[in-house]
């Protein structure tokens, strides 16, 4: 567990990550609060808080007497949410720092596109 932020947020994020990666498909059951608590060795109430956060956001829903399930369309919503976050958390500071260093938008673009291109060629080589 990361010391810098509340555990319930970390629990919610780890469930989100599993949904994004496809490990938790839509309409599949997620582990119970107690299972989360035992696995992460945290207080069940804290785990419950993380799960409930996702219920409030409509990512998970409750089936009475059965448990928690991943909601229909939640992956797409999470991708959208994470893209917004990506913009504020990564792109904006990046632009601010680039402006400070006097990088032009072309230089900045090259810094981003070149490694991506390089990676795709190595991927192709590895595949062939």
């Amino acid at each position: 567990m990361d010391e810098s932020k509340p555990i319930f947020l970390q629990i919610a994020e780890s469930i989100e990550n599993d949904i994004l990666s496809g490990a938790l498909g839509e309409e599949t059951q997620v582990p119970s609060t107690n299972e989360f608590a035992a696995f992460h060795r945290i207080n069940p109430a804290t785990a419950g808080k993380g799960v409930n956060l996702l219920v409030d956001e409509g990512v998970l829903y409750k089936k009475r007497g059965i448990g928690m399930f991943v909601a229909q369309g939640s992956r797409a919503r999470l991708v959208a949410k994470r893209r917004d976050q990506f913009h504020t958390e990564y792109v904006e500071p990046l632009l601010a720092e680039a402006a400070k260093l006097g990088l032009t938008s072309a230089q900045l673009a090259a810094m981003i596109t070149e490694p991506i291109a390089a990676r795709s060629t190595t991927d192709k080589e590895a595949a062939s």
Binding site: S32, T33, N34, G48, V51, R64, G65, I66, G67
Partner: protein, 258 residues
């Protein structure tokens, strides 16, 4: 979250208090070895030792008047060991079991009541044992060597049931006096102990002084003779009772320390 069981909330029933008192009584007997078997085994060992000594004396004094020798055997004080053992049982019951029981959520009141019942049961059980042994002693002509460990002449109160009562009163005296003394210790620690024994010494010295100054030693002697062992033991009930009541009030405000 779905299968959340309902927590048993605090229970509150009429029979609860009695149950907890009985639980305290049982707590004193959970280690049966220390309460029953060990003192019984030591008692048996002392008996064997005494029989051996009596036999050796008889053998060494062969030819001398046997009846005269056997008369000397009737003053054995060996049985006193078991009273002292029970005094220690009572002291430990208060000094060790009390703080332990409080951790189990027992009130001081229930602890004292439960312990008192336990003391009563111990007194009855061991009085019965000593009485039975005294009867065997009689039937076997003093274990075959004319010894008197369980019915020494100075406590021979006549019939077996009076002997039982005599033993019972003595056990109760040692158990409750021991527990009251331990309660003083638990409540006031060593300061309390010093004051307690100083007070007892003062009472004894005071009584002796009073008797001496009023030249009443003869009267006291006569009282002991006329009261007989049972009468004297009956008076011990006063001390036993005072110990039981005082012990309760002392422990009521006592706090356990490690």
């Amino acid at each position: 979250m779905t299968a959340m069981t309902i927590t048993p909330s605090r229970s509150r029933s009429q029979g609860d208090s009695l149950k907890r008192i009985v639980a305290v009584t049982r707590l004193h007997f959970v280690n049966r070895f220390a309460t029953f078997w060990l003192p019984s085994m030591i008692l048996g060992f002392i008996l064997l030792l005494n029989i051996a000594i009596w036999y050796l004396i008889l053998a060494a004094t062969a030819g001398v008047d046997r009846a005269q020798t056997e008369k000397g055997f009737s003053y054995s004080g060996a049985v006193f060991y078991i009273f002292i053992y029970m005094l220690i049982v009572a002291v430990q019951a208060i000094s060790r079991t009390f703080p332990f029981a409080l951790g189990y959520g027992v009130t001081r009141r229930n602890f004292w009541l439960g312990s008192s019942i336990a003391f009563g049961l111990i007194a009855v059980a061991f009085s019965a044992l000593l009485t039975v042994l005294s009867l065997i002693e009689g039937w076997t002509n003093g274990w075959g060597v004319g010894g008197h460990m369980f019915a020494p002449s100075y406590i021979d109160a006549g019939p077996w049931y009076l002997r039982f009562v005599l033993y019972l009163l003595t056990f109760l005296f040692f158990l409750f006096f021991g527990s009251a003394a331990a309660a003083v210790y638990v409540r006031w620690r060593s300061t309390g102990m010093i004051a307690f024994f100083a007070a007892i010494a003062l009472i004894i010295v005071g009584a002796i002084a009073l008797i001496t100054l009023t030249h009443s030693w003869v009267a006291v002697g006569t009282w002991f003779v006329t009261s007989g062992p049972l009468g004297v033991a009956a008076w011990s009930l006063v001390v036993t009772f005072v110990s039981a009541v005082a012990g309760y009030f002392i422990l009521r405000r006592a706090t356990p320390k490690n």
